[in-house]
């Protein structure tokens, strides 16, 4: 068998050569769509608001990909008119998706195209939290924080509400710190600012926000909101609270125990 014979070999009635051409065409279309998207973003910047630019670039990207995909179908011998006559593309897709495996397969493709999650992302799907280990064509594997591997069918991933903790470069967290009513809140805020400034990953911008949030039953409650890079977010969160407590106590500001004032009748 020569290489030429391999090209002429048929899979599901389609020649390997045609399949390779189809894959090549899709790759070229994706590259063209990305170039167009980048140029639209750079060209329209300063002329339109950011969300509008984002919508235009997304719309252009997917329109190019969909048109290119449909146009490329003729390479593997699928004619658009034929599909339309047979009931339309939508009908076929819905028909296929009614079967679980095909549904998972299509969901896997959409996951790869839309990319709501990526390998290494910290995510939450339903009640499962962890790191995405693998995104396969039929299933996605998540390693939970305690090291257990959870496998989700792609259809479940695609249709579930996903929280992706790594999709943005930075993340915010909040502490509630109570101080005594007799303590100076402004001084406490200054101390907290100073301690936060010393930590490399407490971001300078967006700047931490510290304010008196509540006059509680036993304490004046300060709210401390901190932004940190998403990939070190958890270590910063676990590190800073104790540092703040120690720094406040060193300056004579204490976190009070719950207390109640009782007035005795004469």
């Amino acid at each position: 068998m020569t290489i030429w014979d391999i090209f002429k070999y048929k899979i599901a009635g389609i020649e390997v050569e045609a399949i390779l051409k189809f894959i090549g065409a899709i790759l070229i279309i994706v590259i063209i769509a990305k170039i167009v998207r980048t140029n639209i973003r750079r060209g329209l910047k300063d002329k339109l608001p950011d969300p509008t630019v984002k919508n235009i670039e997304r719309f252009s990207y997917y329109v190019i990909i969909i048109i290119g995909f449909i146009a490329s179908l003729s390479i593997i011998g699928i004619s658009l008119s034929g599909l339309l006559v047979a009931g339309g593309i939508l009908g076929i897709v819905i028909g296929f998706a009614s079967q679980t495996v095909v549904s998972n397969f299509l969901s896997g493709i959409f996951l790869i195209i839309e990319r709501p999650i990526g390998i290494g992302d910290a995510i939450k799907i339903e009640d499962v939290e962890g790191i995405v280990e693998e995104i396969k064509i039929l299933s996605t594997t998540i390693r939970t924080w305690d090291g257990v591997y959870a496998r989700f069918p792609n259809e479940k991933v695609f249709t579930s509400k996903i929280y992706n903790y790594y999709s943005s470069p930075v993340r915010r967290f909040e502490y509630k710190i109570g101080i005594r009513y007799s303590d100076d809140a402004n001084k406490a805020i200054e101390i907290i600012k100073r301690v936060l400034d010393e930590h490399p990953f407490v971001l300078k911008e967006p700047a931490p926000v510290i304010f008196v949030d509540e006059l509680g039953e036993s304490s004046v409650n300060l709210s401390v909101r901190i932004w940190a890079p998403s990939n070190v977010w958890f270590s910063v969160k676990t590190e800073m609270l104790w540092k703040l407590k120690v720094a406040l106590e060193k300056e004579g500001i204490q976190v009070p125990f719950p207390q109640r004032v009782i007035w005795m009748a004469k």
Partner: protein, 250 residues
């Protein structure tokens, strides 16, 4: 043993596997006879000790892009100016600013370069360039603007020669500049040195890049090339050499 002796002690350079340098609160020592060596480094309160087993080889002390500490969490450096710069359309101007120095200690032989230690005397602080949903985490530094080459402590700051060109049709205000440190070309002699460019393309967009050559200076070790050498790839050459500041100058 004391290789770096004399009136002017320099930190950056190439040394044998026995060295003892002490300068500006930093002490680097490689000691021990035979194959087993002891590496000792003290900078401020931080002390690092490691073992080296080697017959030959060299120690290279070189400035590296300032994004490796306390852990590598970013590939971008933001330098905020102490004063705003306004640039007229069509104007090209050269200024000097300072950038933070991280010092890399490398083990080297004919075939390989391996990072042994990285430290800094500078304050580490990171910031975000752009919006929380799609911005860039950057190492942050503030610098004054100089017309001539300023004096620096080589262990603390390096000098960046920055050519600013306004190719846009309007006046532009600049408060900060952002670089991709994967493409950062650092040189050294008495101190770390970079030659960089900023071209203003739009009111709030520009591109920054580093120049490949600086006359009369030694080329610093390219940390990313050193790390990727074993894989046989050049990360820095695979990516674009320009960084697009698409999120403005303020």
């Amino acid at each position: 043993m004391a290789i770096n002796s004399g009136r002017q002690i320099k930190m950056f350079g190439v040394y044998g596997l026995n060295l003892n340098i002490e300068k500006g609160g930093v002490k680097i020592e490689v000691s021990g006879g035979g194959r087993e060596k002891n590496y000792f480094r003290k900078a401020g309160d931080e002390v690092i000790e490691k073992k080296i087993y080697a017959n030959n080889g060299e120690i290279i002390i070189s400035p590296v892009p300032p994004v490796n500490l306390p852990i590598h969490a970013s590939n971008h450096l933001m330098i905020e100016f102490d004063k705003s710069i306004f640039v007229e359309p069509g104007v090209e101007e050269k200024i000097f600013i300072k950038f933070p120095v991280e010092i890399g200690v490398f083990l080297s032989d004919e075939k390989d370069i391996e990072p042994l230690d990285i430290f800094t005397k500078t304050k580490l602080k990171y910031t975000l360039y752009g919006r929380p949903e799609d911005g860039f985490v950057c190492r942050w530094w503030r610098s004054e603007i100089y017309k001539e080459i300023p004096n620096v402590d080589e262990l603390y700051e390096g000098i960046m020669e920055l050519k600013i060109k306004n190719s846009y049709s309007e006046w532009t205000e600049i408060n900060k500049i952002v670089f991709n440190t994967l493409t950062m070309k650092i040189f050294y002699k008495n101190h770390a040195y970079c030659s960089a460019n900023l071209e203003i393309i739009k009111k709030s967009m520009g591109k920054t890049s580093f120049n490949e050559k600086v006359e009369g200076m030694n080329e610093a070790i390219d940390l990313y090339l050193a790390k990727s050498r074993k894989l046989g790839i050049s990360l820095a050459k695979e990516i674009g050499r320009e960084f697009f500041m698409e999120r403005g100058f303020k």
